[in-house]
């Protein structure tokens, strides 16, 4: 809404000037912009001032410990712009979101099989919805609820694969790092042997002279 206001404020005087020039009339009172002039309007939209406790850091360059420490990191839940956030990154289970869980709740669930069977269920439900729309159009709501819960299950399954992916990435990175370190060890050994050989050769040449 504010953007519209500002845009129309900018466009309106140009439009009126063009119209009055086109009609070859002298500028009239209609050429005054409808909104207050730019300077007064922008005074309400300046940046906020810096927080007042900047004065406590006056002697920071001489004595770093005279100023207060930064606040400790927040733990638990906190409120930001009216929304509640938690600091723990945990995927909420489906029951907490009020969605029925369609795949067996086991600690080791076979992701591929479940994803495939959920996909087939989804297709069947879509066909069922098409049939319902043809035959009994008033009963669509339940079918749509079923389809949306299948989608939520699908996304939940995929999201629960993310920790696995993170661990796999970690393993991969560590293997790479071990390989690089082995390579570095080999390189250092080789270089040191070569340096010793060069020194020995130099001694031999010096002695031979």
């Amino acid at each position: 809404m504010r953007v519209n206001h500002i845009l129309s404020f900018f466009l309106a005087p140009c439009r009126r000037r063009i119209i009055s020039e086109a009609r070859n009339q002298s500028p009239s009172i209609f050429d005054h912009p409808r909104f207050p002039p730019l300077k007064r309007r922008m005074a309400t939209a300046t940046y906020p001032p810096p927080p007042p406790y900047y004065r406590l850091y006056k002697d920071y360059s001489e004595n770093p410990s005279s100023a207060p420490e930064p606040p400790p990191p927040i733990e638990g839940t906190y409120v930001c712009f009216g929304g509640n956030y938690t600091t723990e990154d945990v995927l909420p289970s489906l029951e907490e979101q009020g969605v029925p869980q369609l795949y067996p709740k086991d600690s080791n669930v076979d992701y591929k099989k479940e994803l495939r069977s959920l996909n087939r269920e989804l297709q069947l439900h879509i066909l069922e919805l098409a049939d319902v729309l043809v035959g009994r159009p008033s009963q669509y709501a339940k079918r749509i609820g079923d389809i949306s819960s299948i989608f939520k299950n699908l996304h939940h399954l995929l999201n629960s694969l993310r920790p696995h992916q993170a661990r796999a990435t970690l393993i991969h990175i560590m293997e790479l790092q071990i390989q690089q370190r082995k390579q570095a060890v080999e390189d250092i050994k080789r270089r040191r042997e070569e340096a010793q050989r060069l020194l020995k050769d130099a001694f031999v040449t010096l002695d031979g002279q």
């Binding site: 992701y111 994803l115 879509i126 996304h155 696995h164 992916q165 661990r167």
Partner: protein
């Protein structure tokens, strides 16, 4: 893009294709006779091929989802096996780090 994000995108595109299919069907459906009192509806407007194409798209998207699922590099290890491997790699890393330090 990694495979899990691809799978998620595929799920979303299946959803989008689904509601496009139903929207097209509802928008382009020819009129139908509801009651026997009224005469037959006039012959339908020229039927386009679009619903067929959209439903073919839907089936293709579902098949691609299956293909992506098959391509998941999911080892049967489970969480404990992965954690054990991580601990093993950490020890090996430590040993090699010390040797590097000596060198």
């Amino acid at each position: 893009m990694d495979i899990i994000s691809q799978l998620q995108e595929q799920v979303n595109s299946i959803a989008a294709t689904t509601f496009n299919v139903f929207g097209t069907l509802q928008r382009d459906a020819p009129p139908v006779q509801l009651s026997l009192n009224y005469p037959d509806p006039p012959p339908s407007a020229p039927t386009t091929d679009e619903p067929k194409q959209l439903s073919a798209d839907l089936v293709k998207a579902a098949k691609q989802f299956d293909a992506l699922v098959a391509a998941l590099p999911l080892s049967d290890g489970g969480e404990e096996a992965q954690l054990k491997r991580i601990a093993q790699l950490q020890m090996e890393n430590h040993v090699i780090g010390q040797e590097l330090h000596k060198q």
